[in-house]
Amino acid sequence: MSFFKTLGEKPWLAQAAGGMPLLEHDPHASGRIALRFFLAVVGVLFFLFTITFLSRSQYPDFQALAGQPWQPFTDPTRLWFNTALLAFSSLAMHMALMSSRAGRMNSTIVGVTAAAFFAVLFLLAQLDLWQELQAMGFGLGGNPANSYFYLLTAVHGLHIAGGLIALSNVVFRVWNNGELNALSGLLKLCSNYWHFLFVIWLLLFGLLTSEPDTINALAALCGF
């Protein structure tokens, strides 16, 4: 581990002459580090929501959203559809990144547009799902499981929306300043964020559509 090696250095000893070598200049290194820390922050956020979900699930009034025929996610087809939209978005982002690395401008534009399109579609589909749930009588305050569904999808959706703002910022920067050579580095950051949110969504999907037995087992594993 280089971290432990670093912590073991003895800075008071004289260093060999010549000092340290200069690393190559990489303007995106800072962005990558900052994004890594940001993803850690977002990860902790969802981790804590999940932990409270598992803890709250052990109280008697909690009724999971799947498991019985009358519960909305016993048949999660609708959620799979939304998941597919987000998967397309992630895939399109990846293609845009690959194209921009290969210098194919047209397919980069197609990729970015498709990624944004599917992401917006995903958000609309989630909103539609909310309305459907409301219509079925699963309101926000009806049951803690409902509350968590709305809360977690909302927080996740806000992160997607934030990603869209960041992506449009990248597009405008490239458009206005013509920083074409910076594009792939910036798209790399966007696509990492996109994939991360896709993985988070898969975890949330798994959690929110779990049957009571699964949730209880997970909660027991966490000591609740």
Binding site: L7, P11, M20, A34, V41, L48, Y59, S147
Partner: protein, 587 residues
Amino acid sequence: MEHVAIADQIDEMHDPDTFITKYIWSQDHKVIAIQYGGTAIVVGLVALVLSGLMRLQLGFPDTFDFIDPSAYLQFVTMHGMIMVIYLLTALLLGGFGNYLIPLMVGARDMVFPYLNMLSYWTYLLSVIVLLASFFVPGGPTGAGWTLYPPQAILNGTPGYDWGIMLMLISLAIFIVAFTMGGLNYVTTVLQARTRGMTLMRMPLTIWGIFTATVLGLLAFPALLVSAIMMMLDKTLGTSFFMPAIVSLGETMDYTGGSPVLFQHLFWFFGHPEVYIVALPAFGMVSDVLATHARKNIFGYRMMVWAIVAIGGLSFVVWAHHMYVSGMNPAFGFFFATTTLIIAIPTAIKVYNWVLTLWRGNIHLTVAMLFAIGFIFTFTHGGLTGLFLGNVVIDLPLSDTYFVVAHFHMVMGVSPIMVLFAAIYHWYPLMSGRMLHVGMGKAHFWFTFLGTYAIYLPMHYLGFLGVPRRYFAMGSTDFIPESAQSLNASITISALIVGASQLIFIYNIFWSLRNGEKAGHNPWQATSLEWQAPDIPPRHGNWGEKLPEVHRWAYDYSVPGAVEDFIPQNVPTSEVAVTADDHEEGHV
């Protein structure tokens, strides 16, 4: 380990030329730091006045008509929250973190200057939202700074309607601001260090700020999560934290939520928060002690390891704030054990500070006085922490003034002592002028002795069983009459200490014009921030060429060297040595 970051490219540093870009919408880390610091101190003074009002009520009950029980609880709540979050966190990380990181690691600015600017303005917004709660119907929340549900959002608690919502919104905004700033701090430390500045050559100040920022990034989400869920409980009728409850004879719509869940979340943030405040203070006091004792910090590596170890351990001690909330005895045992383990790296740090002073060439400057004062107050507050960390001792003491005395000594007075030390130490760098020494010493003695006059008797009140958070004692048989005289004396001390801070404020403004010119490196310090070509440093910090680092930050009183300090940017070949040592090849 050497990087050239965006901030190092001189061609990208446009000197701001208008007043607005220079001082208001500034992207310069030094201006942002002062904006952060100024805002934090102003809001901190509000909290100081609130504590004075609380003390007036406690020292002289039934005297002041405008302090009713609701107002008292509101003062307690706002005082606590402002001091911990909006003053200490903002001043240590937003203020000193911003000012010192780029200068100490040899960067031209933060890596993301625009984000940095946004961070300050978002912080200012959170402060405005918080202070707005003084002017809404019902006033600010009086739920206690821990905002425990269910009472925080139920009728009967002051500010249960508007106040609590503004508090939660303000906290959420603050967390956004902190995250923007925090990403900047960690990235700058990791990416923008100048040539030769390895991680282990960084001054301990930077280690403290860096580790505290990582803690903040990982801990503040817990507060955000609890704030969001409580807002939903309040506004949209969810039952995350709210149990089935009858309030004022009326059955609420809430069903079986868990108030203890909130407590876990809150303290999962709250305990690391203690170290978010303490670690930068630990780092800064180490540098002040080494510089003014003209001696290298004792056990530098151990100090770094202790900072990292404390940072890690701070995430597994949170439930020691909840012994009286009821928990599995095995958990209590676990958290008591981790709490006592965290005392080990902390004690190592205290020993190393004392050993740094041992046989040092101690200069009793005002900064040094405050730094030594910190060793006293911190040891004192830390030792009472050992008592409270044990479940059986905590249970009877938990809701008494003993706890108030403990946490004020350890995370109120101690970080403030370091902040004063830091301001007296780095003010010349920031302004180019020295603070007035006489006023500084008066300020120190009033503050140092005054805080003992305030908090020492509180331990005794705690032993007597005087409960905290109470507006008035009423008829309490087990508390002797003398406790009231003690309370009155505490109040008088508190008012004197509060008033003596005016000396400090006056000194800051007076010295800005009339202070002695600081010149270059007035403390003869080794660290990089004093080696900038201009004091105070100009935009871009380093002029044409970035400094190169050849040594660690603690080459004080090196045997054989002519001067008692060797700045970090001086190569070995340029160190002036005495004749004898030259022949023997020392240095």
